[in-house]
């Protein structure tokens, strides 16, 4: 066991720090809409011009093929420099769609999409959840019927983040009529400008628009846009979800640590006070979350369910930190501010990507080996 920066790491860290200090945009990011789209794309384009876009992608596809230790250093320097959130509207393109295409896509799909993603020219969204298939993803019912060289898609998706500003969508649909559960699904690239698509933005409790309902009415998607094989969408989707909880999670939770340090500075609690104790607990929890992430990243054989453990801890800690911030703000908590906005947004953490309850079931069943509950 060891955690040591080598000479190579040290020079990599210095290069990352130097580039970030020159290039991180000043001022806050727009919260939603077209302005947030432009801001995010400009930032990816800037990263690309500096050689810092998709650095974990293989070199053959425009990345730098960096392993987890350098990615961690990058994210450490990234949040230290207060660069734009990694969890913005470019997250799906850079962390799911691109890696999924690299793993499962055709050469044509890769050649067309990967440069656009890396250079900051396209935004992707994820069309997995449906009104009756959120955490129970395998019960989705949006259909795609083969008609000549096309799939004709009908149905509805919901909770689709950034659908209102996205160019493409990772769309999971049922392509084999009458198929059940995990079978008969396909993962397709959906052009969001296709005729027959209606996007209805959903305003969230924080007053911003991040997700939307998407309706498909005889939308024609060429069969050449299927990724990973027709009716083989479950395997492709699992590949996609596998990318989600790796190093990108590191960026999010390091970001949380920085936010907590800001909170401690803002609160300046009296030593020994109840608030000082609470903030010290949060600081310890943030250190522990970071240790869990390092452990998961730098271990040969991590149980995949450890991702749930990390996700659950991150989600609950994000909420606890935001709740504590609201208390520290006092009456000012009633006004709009970064903290009050983050507080309201944090309610999504224990819901999105599988609720905290679902994560606990996964931990109990797959990590601890407890039996599944009897289902009616």
């Amino acid at each position: 066991m060891h955690l040591k920066d080598t000479e190579d790491h040290i020079s990599f860290r210095a290069a990352a720090r130097a580039w970030l200090s020159e290039n991180v945009p000043a001022g806050p990011a727009p919260r939603d809409g077209a302005a947030s789209r432009q801001y995010a794309l400009d930032w990816v384009a800037k990263c690309h011009s500096g050689g810092w876009s998709g650095i974990g992608w293989p070199a053959d596809y425009g990345g730098r093929g960096l392993g987890p230790d350098k990615l961690v250093i990058w994210y450490e320097e990234y949040v230290r420099a207060r660069a734009p959130s990694v969890h913005d509207c470019t997250f799906v393109a850079l962390n799911h769609a691109g890696p999924t295409l690299i793993a499962c896509g055709t050469e044509e799909q890769k050649a067309f999409h990967l440069p656009q993603i890396l250079e900051g020219r396209s935004i992707w969204c994820q069309g997995f959840s449906e009104p009756n298939a959120g955490s129970d993803l395998a019960s989705l019912s949006t259909t795609g019927v083969v008609d000549g060289d096309d799939l004709v898609v009908n149905g509805q998706k919901i909770w689709t983040s950034f659908a209102d500003i996205a160019d493409y969508q990772e769309l999971l649909i049922r392509t084999e009529p009458g198929s059940k559960r995990h079978k008969g699904l396909s993962w397709v690239i959906c052009d969001m400008k296709s005729p027959g698509i209606t996007v209805r933005p959903i305003r969230n409790m924080a007053g911003t628009v991040h997700f939307a309902e998407v309706f498909y009415d005889d939308v024609r998607i060429p069969l050449s846009s299927v990724v990973g094989g027709l009716h083989n969408g479950w395997a492709t989707a699992m590949t996609t979800l596998g990318f989600e909880r790796k190093t990108a999670a590191m960026g999010m939770q390091l970001d949380l640590s920085v936010r907590l340090e800001d909170l401690i500075a803002m609160a300046a609690p009296k030593p020994g006070s109840a608030m000082a104790e609470r903030l010290a607990d949060l600081r310890a929890e943030a250190a522990a979350l970071r240790a869990i992430t390092y452990r998961t990243l730098f271990r040969d054989q991590a149980n995949p369910s450890e991702g749930s453990l990390m996700r659950l801890r991150f989600a609950e800690l994000a909420r606890e930190i935001s709740e504590t911030a609201m208390e520290c703000l006092g009456a000012e908590a009633l006004a709009d501010s970064d903290w009050s906005h983050l507080y309201l947004e944090s309610f999504s953490e224990t819901i999105a990507g599988g609720t905290a309850e679902i994560q606990r079931n996964i931990i109990a069943e797959r990590l601890l080996g407890l039996p599944r509950e009897k289902r009616a």
Partner: protein, 323 residues
């Protein structure tokens, strides 16, 4: 790979050997007989010299390995005299008393852990101990035991004694930062062991006990308790690795990592122990099951010393400086 949190072959070997020794000599069932642990087997294993440099009689392992062995001690609810011995060995070594060091390491001189209370000390499991290691917030003291009066301890099965503080008791003392951090690390390691064992016992019982026609572990309410125990344990287990490596490498974030660990470990051990009792239901409240022992051990260990105030330490936003 330059960041590596996998256990290497040497580490796996020492841990397997330690577990075999503990399973053979210190099975949990021994506690039902009520006798105080004899640490001869652990001493014979070399447990109390494990982390010392070879020139001081150590086995060429380090702080990381020693901490991991103390996790196993915690799992077996080994007497906290094991912690007192590990630290007293170092106190004796740093005061130049090689004979005392050797006697403690060999288990010939038993050392009871002690905490200050009122004007004196409470000694924990002091049977046959001639000296006590006092775990203070800012110092460790090795004192002679004199005029100790046994009394009933928590739940009547914890053996304690009360001793007045007098001049002339001191054998050695230290306020050296490294040793205090090591003390916090090893106490936390044992607390982690308690948390792990309580989790495992609860999960095992939840997988056997039937109610309403199903094993209770299939019910979400029980399952979520178990998941919380797993998450709690993973937190301090990962933090223990971080803290032990930081301390072992002399990294500048060592004090921070140890303080964070020391802050969370007692709460986690106690939470898991409490849930273990709860999941056992009525039998969990009885003296006949072992669940209550985790509760008591968590309280004992949690009293041994204190962590540094975490808000006073700089947070490591960039993880690792050059080691």
């Amino acid at each position: 790979m330059s960041y590596d949190l996998n256990r290497n072959a040497d580490q796996r070997q020492i841990l397997d050997a330690a577990e075999a020794m503990l399973a053979g000599s210190y099975p949990l069932a021994r506690l039902r007989e009520g006798a105080s642990d004899n640490l001869a087997e652990a001493s014979g294993f070399g447990a109390f010299l494990l982390g010392l440099p070879e020139e001081q009689g150590g086995a060429g392992f380090g702080i990381v390995e020693e901490a991991l062995v103390h996790v196993l001690f915690g799992r077996h609810l080994l007497t906290p005299r094991s912690l007192a011995a590990a630290l007293a060995v170092r106190l004796a070594a740093s005061s130049g008393d090689d004979a005392l060091m050797a006697a403690i390491a060999a288990g010939e001189t038993a050392v009871a852990p002690a905490v200050r209370s009122g004007n004196g000390y409470l000694l924990i499991d002091p049977a046959q101990a001639g000296m006590a290691l006092v775990f203070g917030a800012e110092r460790l003291e090795l004192v002679r035991i004199a005029d100790a009066a046994p009394e009933a301890g928590l739940g009547h099965d914890l053996s304690i004694a009360r001793m007045p503080a007098n001049d002339g008791q001191a054998i050695a003392e230290t306020d050296e930062a490294g040793l205090l951090l090591l003390s916090s690390l090893l106490v936390s390691a044992q607390l982690l062991g308690v948390a792990e064992a309580a989790r495992d016992m609860a999960v095992e019982y939840a997988g056997i006990r039937r109610q309403f026609g199903s094993v209770i572990g299939s019910f979400q309410a029980i399952k979520h308790h178990c998941a919380n125990m797993a998450v709690g344990t993973e937190r301090i287990s990962a933090l223990l690795d971080m803290a032990a490596l930081a301390l072992s490498d002399g990294r500048e974030d060592a004090a921070f990592q140890v303080a964070a660990l020391r802050r969370l470990a007692p709460k986690t051990a106690l939470a898991n122990a409490s849930l273990c009792v709860q999941i056992h239901g009525g039998i969990g409240f009885s003296d006949e099951a072992d669940a209550h022992r985790f509760v008591k051990q968590a309280h004992i260990l949690g009293r041994l010393g204190e962590g540094q105030p975490l808000l006073d330490l700089p947070a490591p936003l960039v993880a690792f400086s050059r080691a």
